[in-house]
Amino acid sequence: MPRDEYIDRALSRMRWKLWQNRMVQAMCVGAVASGIWILTIGGISLFIPLLYSGTKAWVGSAVLFGGSLLYSACRRPSLRDAAICGDALGMEDRLITYLEYRHCDSPMILLFIEETKKALSVVQPVAHWHMCLNKKWLTYAVILLLVGISAWFVPAPAREAASDREKIDKRIQAEREHVQKLRNDISAAAEIHNIQQMEKTLASLQGELAHSTSYQEAAKAVADAKKAIVQGNAQGSGPLASVAYAMLQGTDFPDTGMSRTEMMQWARSLTGNDQVPFPNGVQQKMLQNVEKIKKDLNSSPVPDALQSAYEQLQNHQMTPSDLEKLLDVQSQVGMPAPETEKIAGKLEQIQERLLALDATASEGKAGETPVSSLAFGNQSGLTNGEQVHTNGTEAIAAGGGGMQVRQSSNGTGGFGSAGQHKPATHPHNMVKGEEATRLAGTSSPSLLRGSLGKEGDIREREAVNVWAESGGSGPLGQAWATFQKNGMEYVNRQDIPLAREQVIEHYFAQLSGGKERVAGRDSNVSKNVSHD
């Protein structure tokens, strides 16, 4: 066989060099394609936010680049291709002729192979082979990549909005999954009163969350669902289960799906004392509602508790304590079951998280935390407000009026993603806020709980020494009013979401005197005391 190793080796080396060259050229082509892709996505997304997707852009470009490289790597050049390259470098068709006739055995071929070897040693095409890059493609690739990457940094409100919306969708989707988990828990529970109504409500909530485009909208949907569950459970327990709610319709009762404890807090806020009758206006309205309830009962016997309440209202003697007794009676015929409380609590946690996310998003726009500014007392109207801020745990604002603004965080400082400010006069909510914001499994004692004590009522424990010394409610009332006025003025000037504003407003509305300051956090109280 006339095959020659020297020529075969030269052809193999030529083939390998050709393969490398092809891969490099494929990389240039891939880089051009990637640049075009990135530029297209980045450029068009400036105008059409729907197309915005950083992941899609980079993954697509990586696929294009890698794909072209892989394609060239899989297309190994043949010996014939290598021979053609070698002939072009001065071998004058010898290599291609060698490939065709190397298996022939004739005197002419032998002479030809000898002559080819001599020519190969003289011409040395392998040594003279140089990687040839398509400079034009390389230049295009560099320009397109630079321009494409730069396009991503061009500020675009549409793209930023799309990016924000993407984040919002993701977070709301996470909450949807929590709701789904809740549904699964309901299905697994043995006995839940009014389970079908709850499942229906939760299913509807999931649908609304899927269509929500903002945290506020999602939080409102959650709040509505919670209210529906609580009310539905209460309504399903018989006519008396809704007596308390029906009686309070038309008064200042917030009607936000409050539980019994919340209802009592509200009631006490009206009178200041369990034994003090409700304001006449409120009692009048309650009387009208009871008369309506009695009329609705028609020929049904009026329950004793209702009749008793009716008589008290007629005498304008209805107190929060009486209302509590009515609620006790109501619990005997059906109060919201513990499971319902649990579900409502979890929904409230979801709501709080969504509101916190909304607040965080608003912070980004406003540039500062409005409530913390309030607590810091940076505004002129807040001379009585001051915040002692601890390092990322809880902060208490000490004010001359004894108002405490408590902030809980999940350890990140200030408002964390799961943290939320809660007014101190809602200890029940504050507890829940604490639970919502604490990291799972934490067992560190809560300052709030320490101050709550058994009853869990901060207001009772939060007494400002100044007030006790002053011994009167007149100056106290003025201080409260001034503080409330200044505080709300500031709040109204800030870009605070409506839900949060309502919470703050409600907090101010609940403020009253006789609060103790928590020990160890009154370092600045003395200053305020002097002002007071």
Binding site: E92, D93, I96, E100, Y101, C104, S106, M108, L111, E115
Partner: protein
């Protein structure tokens, strides 16, 4: 075919080329191409003005090859039997028998001088001889010598009263070579040789018919890669207006070269490669023989001819275009 025979090809080719160039001055390229055709066994059409050495070339070649040579002067009254031979009656022992008298065609090298002067009937008498190397008279077919080579000449200036060769006959010539006026030095040398005291050396017999046959066999065994063969075919295909990508061809050419053109290209390229000391055919060998082998096979439309479009220019463009 032995190694020695192959290795002596170049030497033999150079010898005969040198010998002919001694007698025919200033036509080196023509002599080279003529020898290529001679070794390949193809016929050549020489075109040139009178006095450029066409007849001398044929005579010198015949002398150098040590083969029989005949010159036929074509005239308008020349009959076919004048070149092929005829039956003659002869009397022997009181009996009249007809015997075939071979004509001048029965030689190895035939110089058909001014072939375009003879009638088409006489021209066609050459067709069978040139292609098949046989002559048919009546029912008898006579084989021509093994080495048979027709060297036809024509004068491009005197076309009046001539019979242009038909396309079929032109296609049977392997090459068409155009003799041009040699340079000053060559002319001076010719003058010295012919009018002075300088005696031109006589032509030696360098090769015989058998050696020529061996050279032909060696040429047949020269390897030509498929790429090279495809190149020759692509070149021929490009001469056809229906297959060509050339604007010039589509516009001016009626018909392109036939398969004989591709055969002529490849055969000539193989001999050229061996003559150059190489043992393989390259694309450059094909390209070098494009004009001699194809120019007489392309026929122009009348408008192209009227605009004096040259076939050689078209072929040069095709050589540059085809890869």
């Amino acid at each position: 075919m032995s190694l020695e025979e192959i290795q002596t090809f170049q030497k033999m080719f150079r010898m005969i080329e040198q010998e002919v160039n001694q007698a025919v001055i200033g036509q080196g390229k023509i002599v080279h191409d003529l020898l290529l055709a001679a070794v390949a066994g193809g016929n050549v059409l020489l075109e040139g003005a009178p006095g450029l050495g066409k007849t001398r070339l044929a005579k010198t070649l015949a002398a150098a090859l040590d083969v029989s040579y005949a010159r036929i002067q074509f005239t308008p009254d020349l009959m076919p039997t004048d070149i092929t031979g005829t039956m003659v009656a002869e009397q022997r022992n009181g009996e009249i028998r007809f015997r075939f008298q071979k004509g001048p065609l029965f030689h190895s090298i035939i110089l058909a001088d001014e072939i375009n002067r003879a009638s088409p009937k006489t021209q066609s008498a050459l067709l069978e001889a040139m292609e098949e190397k046989t002559v048919t008279i009546g029912n008898e077919t006579y084989v021509l010598p093994h080495v048979f080579f027709v060297l036809a000449t024509q004068n491009p200036l005197e076309m009046e009263g001539t019979f242009p060769l038909p396309e079929a006959q032109l296609d049977r010539f392997m090459m068409k070579l155009k003799l041009t006026m040699p340079g000053m030095e060559a002319l001076l040398h010719v003058l010295d040789m012919t009018t002075g005291q300088y005696e031109a050396p006589s032509t030696r017999k360098v090769l015989n018919a058998q050696q020529l046959q061996q050279m032909r066999q060696a040429a047949f065994s020269t390897p030509a890669a498929e790429e090279v063969r495809r190149y020759a075919v692509r070149l021929v295909m490009e001469t056809h207006p229906e297959h060509s990508s050339s604007e010039l061809v589509r516009k001016h050419v009626i018909s392109g070269a036939s398969l004989r053109g591709a055969q002529a290209l490849l055969m000539g390229a193989k001999i050229q490669a061996l003559a150059a000391g190489r043992y393989h055919v390259t694309r450059q060998d094909i390209a070098n023989l494009a004009i001699p082998c194809l120019s007489h096979r392309l026929f122009l439309r009348y408008p192209g001819a009227a605009r004096q479009v040259r076939v050689e220019d078209i072929i040069e463009q095709l050589v540059l275009k085809v890869e």
